[in-house]
Symmetry: D2
Subunit: 159 residues, 4 copies
Amino acid sequence: MTGPDGGQPAPFRRADFDVLRTITTRWEDEDVYGHVNNVVYYSFFDTAVNGHLIDATGTDIRRLDAVGLVAETQCEFLRELAFPDDVQAGLAVTRIGTSSIVYRIGLFQGQSPEPAAIGRFVHVYVDAATRVVTPIPEAVRAAVSPLLVEPDATTSGSA
Amino acid sequence: MTGPDGGQPAPFRRADFDVLRTITTRWEDEDVYGHVNNVVYYSFFDTAVNGHLIDATGTDIRRLDAVGLVAETQCEFLRELAFPDDVQAGLAVTRIGTSSIVYRIGLFQGQSPEPAAIGRFVHVYVDAATRVVTPIPEAVRAAVSPLLVEPDATTSGSA
Amino acid sequence: MTGPDGGQPAPFRRADFDVLRTITTRWEDEDVYGHVNNVVYYSFFDTAVNGHLIDATGTDIRRLDAVGLVAETQCEFLRELAFPDDVQAGLAVTRIGTSSIVYRIGLFQGQSPEPAAIGRFVHVYVDAATRVVTPIPEAVRAAVSPLLVEPDATTSGSA
Amino acid sequence: MTGPDGGQPAPFRRADFDVLRTITTRWEDEDVYGHVNNVVYYSFFDTAVNGHLIDATGTDIRRLDAVGLVAETQCEFLRELAFPDDVQAGLAVTRIGTSSIVYRIGLFQGQSPEPAAIGRFVHVYVDAATRVVTPIPEAVRAAVSPLLVEPDATTSGSA
């Protein structure tokens, strides 16, 4: 595995993630090539991040005054995923800015310690009504701070 | 709840289903009205039926000589479903024909014994290569026979 | 084609629909069997109905005081649909009640006058805030009235 | 707009794309925030690339001996997309290797020359049976060669 810059292999394995969330696969997830379609991996990212935020804050984050909109995502597809086995989504945070949070996500299936995919997911917080960029809500900041790890070479600045 | 014929309430509760399968919801499942979109319920049906068939037969049913194509589905939406709670899909079989199987599916969320939706799902078996209607594979027939219950008034004949 | 009651063939062809809306298919729509997955047909129904309502009312119906929630849907799958050809969704209305509208939808692909699927789609209007059943908004009623046709034998009462 | 490296604005506008493909949005595409969910943008990428390949080659690329699997994708979300307007997906190719093709995709809606999103989409060709990396089929290479543009700073090497 190489990063988007063609750099060093990124050694992210299942044990590197403190938070692992289980997501069930769906029949519909598989495409004509008999594996989970690439688009669906991003649904796993979206679900893991928002599900963790709801659980860790104890708050329905959709109803806060500031909501996280997705500014950038990226995924490297390393192994196929298949229905019907569950997927484990590992979550880490590589940057917490004033208004943005950068997540690293690893997807795993079966017993393998190696990821099927490694993703990057950037939330930027905006005012729910005006959609103007605004600071990360305190409840969210507190929830993600324990997930902060060293950034990797492919993680660069966002707002 | 009334059936498609506007008839009697159908008394299908969680305890009426011998098989219950857990499906995790996804952030993307919710639509602009803040609840799981109606289309997604059918993905739960599809996933519950095929997942059970794979588990109960111990076979990757997609690679059999005869595969089940969906001939008809129907759903009554009774209560809203929401992310991030899990959904339980209850499975029963109301008819086993020569080439077709009619399933009843109940979707449940939280502790409620009452369904959020009751669905009907009809598989017709066809030859995987020619797509000509063909008898139900023995492994599948054996897997679904224990789920057979009395049909309800809304379940009518299909091939 | 037989109705859900195993009755007479339903003679709904492309020319039977006054409104036809074009929907592009997506690569992801196809499943492991190499055809558009059954779940996606309901996304076509949802899109055709709501898209027509927005166009015909000239109003963003999502922001009205009363919104249409889906109470029941049903689909008979008659022919396969495939990517990348467009789908035409034909729309008719078989019943307009005080609070509910029943649509008949036909899906067509290529030059065939025969439908790939015939669906039933029931909207019940509720107060957007309280979700209590409420009369159909006048703008919506005016938009759907021209689509009213004779109900077929499979269309029965809903609220 | 800044690239993943936080660098210079990328000046990709509608007129910069020689190929523009129309994709209809779906009601289900919108999420709880009332805009097209981030995951769906990748379905637009997938659909634009594969649809163009099918049209430009005149071949059902899914049945070739070598098929393109997705190795990496990335998206910057710049403006919201909404139902029911159509999306235009602009296609360019920034690199053609022995076995891989890197696409740049711009998504546009309404009359704006500015993109709602800029994406990167990497196909790696594999033998359809063994999934071993293999050269790009000639028909595909011929189809994408006219789309080749100067790579941007964010496009780096892949196989």
